[in-house]
């Protein structure tokens, strides 16, 4: 098992963000986080808002994502993400500001705000901060 790897490809509409052989990958599915090791059963699933974590030789890489799809087949994981940002690309200051804004909007709860939208914004900001290691 130790010599088995999985190929992970993270693709956004704009470009291929990540393409590497890794030992283990954790994917934020819509129904909860999902860990994929080599020899995983074929799967097609929805991708939620959260952090994609890959581990290779004990080294972690984290990417923040905001939804899409994932396909696992034959030790190959293809993640079709709407956005995927590597931890070093994330603007922590902006993400923090976005979190503040979303929290304020949720706290005030006036009738004209879109609660669902604010919640999504909050979750996206939290995922970014988590991937960047700022929290």
């Amino acid at each position: 098992m130790a010599d088995k790897n999985i190929a992970v490809e993270i693709i956004t509409p704009e470009r291929v963000v990540f393409s590497e052989m890794v030992d283990f990958v954790v994917i934020p599915g819509v129904e909860g986080y999902l860990g994929v090791l080599p020899m995983h059963a074929p799967l097609v699933g929805g991708l939620g808002i959260g952090v994609i974590k890959t581990i290779k030789d004990g080294k972690e890489t984290k990417l923040a994502t905001s939804g899409g799809f994932v396909e696992v087949n034959n030790d190959k994981v293809v993640i079709l993400a709407e956005t995927a940002e590597r931890s070093e690309e994330i603007d922590v200051v902006r993400a923090k500001a976005a979190r503040e804004r979303a929290q304020q909007r949720l706290a005030s709860r006036t009738h004209d705000i879109d609660v669902a939208r604010a919640e999504l914004a909050l979750r996206r900001a939290m995922a970014r901060l988590k991937a960047a290691g700022a929290e």
Partner: protein, 284 residues
């Protein structure tokens, strides 16, 4: 024959025009390269999403979804992608002609992306349902998403029963082809790898219906995004070619005018000499 002064003035004016066309050509060439890279970079995503969609729909052929539902096409919508600016040869004219032909056969409304298309059909009194203009150079996926959501919304609400995408396909820097394709209702693409992928027993999470509900709008957005990128690359290709030939034409004109100028100058000198000689002879 025009005087030497007039000729000089014309040469000067053509030269400055040539400088502009040359600069535009070079700018277009640089932008084309970037646009081409973006088209290529967007391919993996578009290909994969099509593959997943094909697998989902063929493995679950009974699934129903509003975007797959075929209706009597009473109200047709054309999503037209043109440039915001001119000076790109026949690029805008070609795509507008194609869309005008489509509208002639099957009248409908237009969702205009790009200033040229909007202005053209507004002048002709065609119903412009929505417009997206001034999108700029680097079109982010968010724009395609917005357009996609707008169109999907129209379709679901039953404002339109059929949506077509009219855009220019990028073949090469020299050739661009105006094309049209049906966007809605979605016709599921055929399975890519044939039978092999159908035999694999996939786990679906969440269930196929829910996945499909997520996937279909995304598929529309990706298709629009691809069309936007192709149209952009085509625009730059067309502009580069047009400006290249404009520069060549200017060079040709300058050559011709320079020749006439030299002739005129020679004629003037000859005339002067003969006048002097004539004057000298008269003194003898």
């Amino acid at each position: 024959m025009a005087s030497a002064r007039d000729l000089r003035r014309r040469i000067k004016s053509i030269k400055s025009t040539q400088q502009i066309t040359k600069a535009m050509k070079m700018v277009a060439a640089a932008k084309l390269r970037k646009a081409q890279e973006r088209v290529i970079a967007a391919r993996p995503f578009a290909g994969k999403i099509q593959e997943v969609l094909a697998r989902l729909t063929s493995a679950n052929s009974g699934v129903k979804h509003p975007l797959l539902e075929v209706r009597e096409p009473n109200n047709i919508c054309y999503v037209l992608i043109t440039a915001d600016r001119g000076l790109c040869g026949g690029y805008n004219a070609n795509i507008l002609r194609l869309n005008a032909g489509l509208l002639h056969n099957r009248p409908g409304s237009v969702v205009a992306i790009g200033r040229k298309g909007r202005d053209f059909f507004r002048r002709r009194g065609v119903d412009i349902k929505t417009e997206f203009v001034g999108l700029g150079e680097d079109i982010p996926f968010g724009v395609a998403k917005e357009i996609g959501q707008t169109v999907v919304d129209y379709y679901v609400k039953g404002i339109f029963d059929e949506v077509h995408l009219v855009f220019t396909e990028f073949k090469s820097a020299m050739t661009q082809k105006p094309t049209t394709m049906k966007l809605l209702p979605i016709e599921p693409p055929p399975p890519v790898e044939g039978e092999k992928s159908l035999q694999i027993d996939y786990i679906y999470e969440p269930d196929p219906e829910q996945l499909l509900a997520e996937l279909l709008p995304k598929y529309i957005e990706t298709t629009i995004y691809r069309a936007l990128l192709e149209a952009k690359a085509s625009e730059h290709g067309a502009r580069m070619t047009a400006m290249g030939s404009a520069t060549d034409n200017a060079a040709e004109m300058i050559d011709k005018l320079t020749l006439s100028l030299n002739r005129a100058r020679q004629a003037a000198i000859t005339k002067e000499i003969s006048e002097i000689v004539g004057g000298a002879n008269a003194l003898d």
